[in-house]
């Protein structure tokens, strides 16, 4: 696009062919994916309809209600604490999920990348199966483990470690466990891709220069696989922030995240402009994360 033309410039007709061949896919995507996002942005600045939907009158109420609420009687404005606690929970849980998946993901990716070529395909397959398995099924599986009569509590009670079941299900911890579980493969795969290209002689060089294992990890390995770390973190952080199924199933009605809060506005809440404003906000956060990601990874490419 704005990038200066390098090398040979393709003849005009190739570009035209490229656009023509891509056109059907682009049209479908614009009709049934990208285009409607624009409608969401528009709905966020309209007035709320009586039951659901909107009235076509310009209004900032939707965006106002993201952060503030008005007292019904004296119209005093105050911060909407309930909303803030939902945002805080979403951000907190998403960051925690990203950190924990990294803690498990780095050793796992390292392990796979250092297997002999023959068995590597097998370990990779083991990581991809959960990745492609229905998110709902994986959430059910975790629910089965952590519920009061589930495996974990039965096991702990049986061995006398606890006297009665710990209530994990329907807490923030349950949502965190669930998100870590379902998004772990998204962290492992890009880390694996980065480590796979890693030149292990560099580690040897590090040790030869009397670096400790920790120094080798911090000073050699982590800087080189940074693009993989950033990619994995983005891939985990974005879906965590917009998570809907996992908090709904494992958090119960109370421990809502932004995704559930948005749904509420289009369901029982019947406040479409607020729901649209929240969706637009979420989209903007994702956009900013992606821009940061592109900046970081392109900077790395020019340095390396």
């Amino acid at each position: 696009m704005s990038r200066p033309e390098t090398g040979r410039k393709a003849p005009r007709s190739k570009g035209v062919d490229g656009w023509l061949l891509s056109a059907p896919a682009l049209i479908l995507l614009i009709v049934a994916a990208s285009g409607p996002l624009l409608i969401v942005a528009i709905y966020s600045v309209l007035e709320k309809g009586d039951y659901s939907g909107v009235r076509w009158i310009l209004s900032g109420e939707g965006w106002f209600r993201v952060l503030f609420e008005r007292d019904i009687f004296d119209q005093t404005i105050s911060l909407a604490d309930a909303n803030l606690s939902i945002f805080w929970r979403s951000i907190k849980l998403s960051i925690a999920t990203t950190i924990i998946t990294f803690g498990f993901g780095l050793p796992t990716a390292w392990f796979i990348a250092t297997r002999p070529a023959r068995s590597r395909a097998f370990w990779l397959f083991l990581i991809t199966v959960p990745f492609w398995t229905n998110l709902l099924i994986r959430t059910f599986a975790i629910m089965e483990v952590i519920r009061n009569q589930g495996i974990l509590n039965t096991f702990l009670t049986h061995f006398g470690l606890i006297s009665e079941p710990i209530q994990i299900l329907y807490t923030d911890t349950a949502v965190l466990i669930g998100m870590t579980y379902v998004y772990l493969p998204l962290m492992v795969l890009p880390l694996y891709a980065a480590i796979d290209r890693f030149d292990f002689r560099l580690i040897e060089a590090g040790y030869d220069l009397y670096a400790s294992r920790w120094q080798v990890l911090r000073g050699v390995i982590l800087p080189i696989i940074k693009p993989g770390i950033v990619a994995g973190s983005i891939l985990v952080f974005i879906p965590s922030l917009g998570a809907y199924v996992t908090p709904r199933v494992l958090g119960g009605g109370k421990n809502m995240m932004i995704g559930n809060f948005i749904e509420l506005q289009f369901g029982q809440g019947q406040n479409w402009p607020l729901g649209a404003a929240l969706s637009t906000l979420l989209l903007l956060v994702v956009l900013v994360s992606l821009i940061v990601y592109t900046r970081v990874s392109s900077k790395d490419n020019t340095n390396g």
């Binding site: 696009m1 061949l21 682009l26 996002l37 409608i39 050793p107 796992t108 229905n134 994986r138 483990v145």
Partner: protein, 268 residues
């Protein structure tokens, strides 16, 4: 730390342990779910002996039958449509050098991978609900359209990867022998590209079959797919029947993935 030279530089302390732990933690819940789907008796809490009872219950449940049929119909249509469009787009964007606006095409194609699903779901709810009112049509078309759209990037990636690995000499040879562009595509490019196309269609099929959020928001009343039916069941207690359906879906996913590995492995 001792300066013994006998250690393997690729080993880092604790890494293997955490990795093995990660694999165990990844699979233990799934294995538990599978085992419990074969549990006889009515309780999800007690083991009542091996039984296929809940599979029979699920198979005889009319709601499950309908939802399964609907899921399969949507997944077949969505994978056919998205794969056809993705193949065209991949042919248009690969092997022809850089052209103006290529980045725009990439961004639009990959957009469903970046936007949180809940946002797309809400957007489609708003858009389709007004279309439903305007046209009076409320059939499966909306679900097929939505699924086809978000399956495109998944179908596109393996096809593009395959195309990038193919050189153009065969096509040049065909053109030298006076084959028309259409003949070249039909008899040279397409057969070479086929493994990529099949792989793309498989991924699209799995993605469509698994979708929960967008389906939940776009479906009209009485249009449950298997995942939305399962989510709906959860409002009550966890039933062994849901475990049985989950295991069946899991088996289907693993089957398709194994086929996928075989299809993509054969380098023609």
């Amino acid at each position: 730390m001792g300066k013994t030279r006998a250690f393997d530089v690729t080993t880092l302390p604790g890494f293997t342990f955490i990795a093995i732990l990660a694999f165990v933690l990844l699979y233990a819940p799934i294995v538990t779910l599978v085992i419990y789907s074969f549990n006889g008796g009515n309780s999800v809490n007690q083991w009542g002996g091996f039984s296929l009872e809940w599979y029979a219950v699920a198979a005889q449940n009319e709601a499950v039958q309908d939802a399964t049929a609907r899921s399969l119909i949507i997944a077949v249509w969505a994978s056919v449509i998205s794969t056809a469009l993705a193949t065209m787009a991949a042919l248009g964007t690969t092997r022809r050098g850089k052209f103006t606006g290529q980045t725009v095409i990439y961004v639009i194609i990959n957009q469903p991978l970046m936007v949180p699903e809940i946002v797309t779901a809400v957007a489609l709810l708003i858009f389709f609900s007004s279309v439903k009112v305007a046209t009076g049509y409320s059939g499966l078309g909306y679900l097929i359209l939505a699924h086809s759209a978000f399956c495109i990037p998944f179908a596109y990636l393996p096809i593009k990867a395959r195309l990038e690995g193919m050189d153009t000499t065969m096509e040049t040879a065909a053109a030298d022998l006076y084959a028309t562009p259409l003949q070249t595509f039909r008899y040279v490019t397409l057969p070479l590209l086929l493994p990529g196309v099949i792989a793309g269609a498989m991924l699209a099929f799995i993605i469509s079959l698994d979708n929960v959020i967008i389906t939940e928001f776009v479906k009209s009343a009485g249009q449950d797919t298997l995942p939305t039916y399962m989510l709906g069941q959860l409002r009550r207690a966890l039933t062994p029947e849901v475990n049985a359906i989950s295991t069946a879906l899991l088996a289907l996913t693993i089957l398709i993935l194994t086929l996928f590995v075989f299809v993509t492995k054969k380098r023609g």
